[in-house]
Symmetry: C2
Subunit: 337 residues, 2 copies
């Protein structure tokens, strides 16, 4: 049996089963979440996450500069810490490159990582360099902290909770389309913004911290696999279902115009484009107005209620504008599909 | 300018310079050491290290099984924590593989990692899976802890200190030669032992912890780049020099026989073979007998005094059996040379 036959989430499930029963103390949350939560006996929990970027799979040197790649790999990890409400602190970098790589390329990569880490309050404190025959592998490990009482997990959504999302999902997917189809004619300003959203996503760190401190939200995840895919993660680990209202989805003007130019469905991009690094979270309906106002007042970021958590375990539904209820077609992003 | 023109340590120096001036609190030791030392405001310091293994650079699937590779990548990281006197706790794994990899291969890899981690008292608590066009990249990040008063660094060797090493350096290099030249005829028992030493090195964890708790040692490092290479790291970061006595070097019978069969110099393998994962440490001469006895009594591991720290900053000398003093020819292992 091959890895692409069981898929990324099949493999994760298999590994999680194999690693169950490990006995080291201090593991508050282990395998299965994007971020491990560890109790170091200090005043705060330690958060640990990593993300590996492979040339030819996650990026090509033609489409992204070294500086952008550096920013991007840090942003992705910061987004994971943000989804717990945490505070990034320290990072390790493993970099494998061919010996004939330009030193200037490596310089730019670290400049990007350093700058994006600094924006999140983190420092790069160690790592590892290796040769590689061709291509490039970049693994970024980020450690953060959070007060135990503020920690937000993905597994604690409640029936009847509203589902909210920050910003404009789908813009990263639109940016990817502009890379794939460079001939698409868009307003240069929109073009620039969508490329930036794809290549250098800005994690919603202040937003995540603010939401956690509010004590008003029940579950949170960052959107890397797509809104549907990550909402499914919340539902699975919370033992719940969800219904999304298409009419309520935030579809930015930029996403609309890019989808129109590409002949694509903007709703599909919003629901399953992936790599948005927006925050998807749940809260009691009566808390929603206050949460929206707080986010806008303190960070300038909008958020939108897009549906509700149901008690139909594992059932995901999308209510279309015409009132019909359908199952989402997209499954989120599988790295081995 | 290319990476292989400035070399691994040139590149590390450049990156360290670029990352200097980062301002996150809690960094006791950052870039430049194999292990970052972090103050989480808890009772113990946090230790963080990582090591990336690339197919075709660090291993080939022909020479090492998935299970052995899993054990090996954990052992390498445990060795780094051991060199600080620390206690491994939690690990993250980033794995990039092609979709057509056998699931059974991944199973065996995780079985090896889990077993070796458990031996060190650590659990795998998270990570990341990715596709890859061909080849494989495996990055292992290990977190550990140490009481601040027991932490041993590489930068604190003192003039006049004795230099000691555990076990039998050179055996890993001998094992590598047996893989490269499978026709070499050796006693099967010796053959098996040397291959094991190369493929599944056993980190000197209990030894490192014991040495740190003794409060009798001044500096320590684990030998990955070779005895000369890692002693140079101690000297550089301590602002000292060193002199090694060839006559005192531990040359195991296995190393002698393999070097003889391969027509190689056993002393060269001992001094610069690399990937030994023995501990190289310094202590006052008067503490040496007690340290040797303690290590042997409590762990069954021998250690040997191989030279002394001098005040000749940056000067590394090897005294040959005939009394002549020469500069070592080997420079340790440069990943881009």
């Amino acid at each position: 049996m091959l890895v692409n036959q069981i898929g990324e989430f099949g493999l994760i499930g298999r590994i999680a089963a194999m690693l169950s029963g490990q006995t080291t103390a201090g593991v508050v949350r282990g395998i299965g979440d994007d971020v491990a939560v560890l109790d170091t006996s200090g005043p705060e929990y330690l958060l640990a996450t990593c993300d590996i970027q492979i040339e030819g799979v996650h990026f090509t040197r033609r489409a992204i500069t070294a500086y952008q790649l550096g920013r991007r790999v840090v942003a992705i990890n910061v987004s994971d810490i943000a989804s717990m409400g945490g505070y990034p602190r320290w990072a390790l970098v493993s970099l494998a490159i061919p010996g004939n790589t330009e030193v200037a390329y490596v310089d730019e990569l670290y400049r990007g990582m350093r700058e994006q880490a600094a924006l999140a309050g983190a420092s790069i404190v160690g790592g590892n360099l290796s040769g590689m025959e061709s291509g490039m592998a970049l693994d970024f490990t980020l450690l953060g902290v959070i007060a135990p009482e503020l920690l937000v997990l993905r597994s604690t959504a409640r029936t009847g909770d509203s589902i909210l999302i920050t910003g404009s999902p789908g813009e990263s997917r639109a940016g990817l389309e502009l890379i794939r189809q460079p001939h698409l004619e868009l307003n240069p300003e929109i073009n620039r913004k969508l490329l930036e959203r794809h290549l250098c996503p800005q994690p919603r760190l202040a937003e995540g911290q603010l939401l956690a401190r509010s004590r008003q939200i029940s579950a949170m995840i960052d959107v890397s696999d797509g809104v549907i895919g990550d909402l499914a993660h919340i539902c699975e680990s919370s033992g719940k279902g969800a219904e999304i209202e298409v009419a309520n989805l935030p579809v930015s003007r930029e996403v609309s115009e890019a989808a129109l130019a590409a002949g694509a469905d903007s709703i599909d991009w919003v629901l399953s484009g992936g790599e948005d690094y927006e925050l998807l979270f749940t809260a009691r309906p009566q808390a929603v107005p206050e949460l929206k106002k707080m986010l806008m007042d303190e960070t300038g970021t909008s958020c939108t209620q897009i549906g509700s958590i149901t008690d139909e375990t594992g059932e995901m539904w999308v209510r279309l504008a015409d009132g019909r209820r359908v199952r989402p077609s997209a499954e989120g992003w599988d790295h081995f599909a």
